[in-house]
């Protein structure tokens, strides 16, 4: 295999990875750091059309438009927080995969802990009852029923 062919093969192999990572549009980033920042940010944002996908992975047309918007805002020197705010102002907290802690999301954040506590409470009561009751627990007498 000639050197040129080998180099070409190497190059295509190297690209195979990146093509998969950013399936869609090659954007003219100023630096690699900015590209990494872009990838990180769009991974934290939710695609509104296909809501189980993030902006980075989605092929939806709106997702592409919003990626372009994020890219433009980045070129204007906006911070990640500013860009998120820009999107939240238009699409509500729904676009954030990590919703902020505020009265409207308390149930979301603390609900699982509450349910866990409630479960622990039930277990505690049951265990106590059983311990206190000691022998008082009805021992099922074998009356021939298999169930």
């Amino acid at each position: 295999m000639s050197g040129l062919l080998r180099a070409l093969l190497m190059a295509s192999l190297m690209f195979a990875g990146t093509i998969q990572a950013q399936a869609i549009d090659p954007l003219p980033f100023q630096s690699h750091a900015q590209e990494v920042r872009f990838q990180n940010l769009t991974k934290q944002l939710r695609c509104l059309v296909c809501q189980n996908e993030n902006l980075a992975d989605s092929n939806a047309e709106l997702a592409r438009d919003l990626r372009l918007e994020v890219f433009k805002l980045m070129q204007q020197g906006q911070t990640d927080a500013q860009i998120k705010q820009y999107l939240v102002a238009r699409y509500s907290n729904f676009v954030l995969y990590d919703p902020p802690l505020e009265p409207g999301t308390w149930l979301l954040w603390f609900g699982p802990a509450l349910i866990l506590l409630a479960g622990a409470g039930v277990v505690l009561v049951a265990v106590r009852k059983r311990r206190r009751g000691g022998a008082a627990i009805e021992v099922p007498t074998d009356n021939g029923d298999d169930w």
Binding site: L48, V49, Q51, E61, L62, D65, L66, E69, V88, A89, R90, Y91, S92, F94
Partner: protein, 180 residues
């Protein structure tokens, strides 16, 4: 009594699941509530479908409430909604303005010629850039904008005669009551 406890637990779970199913028939779980309700509509300048050289801006529409209906010829749900707009669009008491979203003007014109045109005027946003400011994420979507340019109501998805009667018309009536 304590033997019945698991049964009550089961009934509770059934009730919870039943409520979940009922809730999802009443609400679209994919609906993203707009944060723009009761906030000024974004400023826009968009060409009309009839004459691309002629533009309509938010400022030029101030002073009178209107309903902005986002539609596209490629949008299947818009086709479902269309007969409703044809029937009720004229009876709203305020203009129904079409917002042609990411559509080729020729396609939009053909579509309106074929199915009828319920709009007082149609503005076009081919790139979909202004639609982002409106928080549009699909079509059809509809905005009720008051005389001061404030978004008062938004409906996501196709209008049905029921939704127009139950939500849109009362919202319009309230606007007209405020500003004579």
């Amino acid at each position: 009594m304590s033997r019945l406890l698991p049964f009550f637990g089961f009934v509770l779970l059934v009730a919870l699941f039943g409520f979940g199913i009922w809730w999802n028939t009443q609400h679209d779980p994919n609906e993203v509530p707009s944060p723009l309700i009761n906030l000024p509509a974004p400023a826009f300048v968009l060409p009309t479908l009839d004459d691309p050289a002629h533009t309509i801006s938010k400022a030029s529409l101030l002073g009178k409430p209107y309903v902005l209906n986002v539609f596209a010829s490629w949008c299947i749900a818009c086709g479902e909604e269309h007969p409703t707009l044809m029937a009720d669009g004229n009876e709203l008491g305020i203009p129904l303005i079409g917002y042609n979203y990411k559509d080729a003007p020729e396609d939009a014109k053909t579509w309106l010629n074929t199915h009828g045109n319920p709009y007082a005027m149609v503005i076009t946003d081919r790139a979909g850039r202004t639609a982002i400011d409106f928080g549009v994420y699909g079509a059809p979507e509809s905005f009720l904008v008051d005389a001061k340019g404030i978004i008062r109501y938004k409906h996501i998805g196709p209008f049905t005669p029921q939704i127009i009667a139950r939500e849109l018309k009362p919202a319009i009536a309230e606007l007209l009551k405020e500003a004579p």
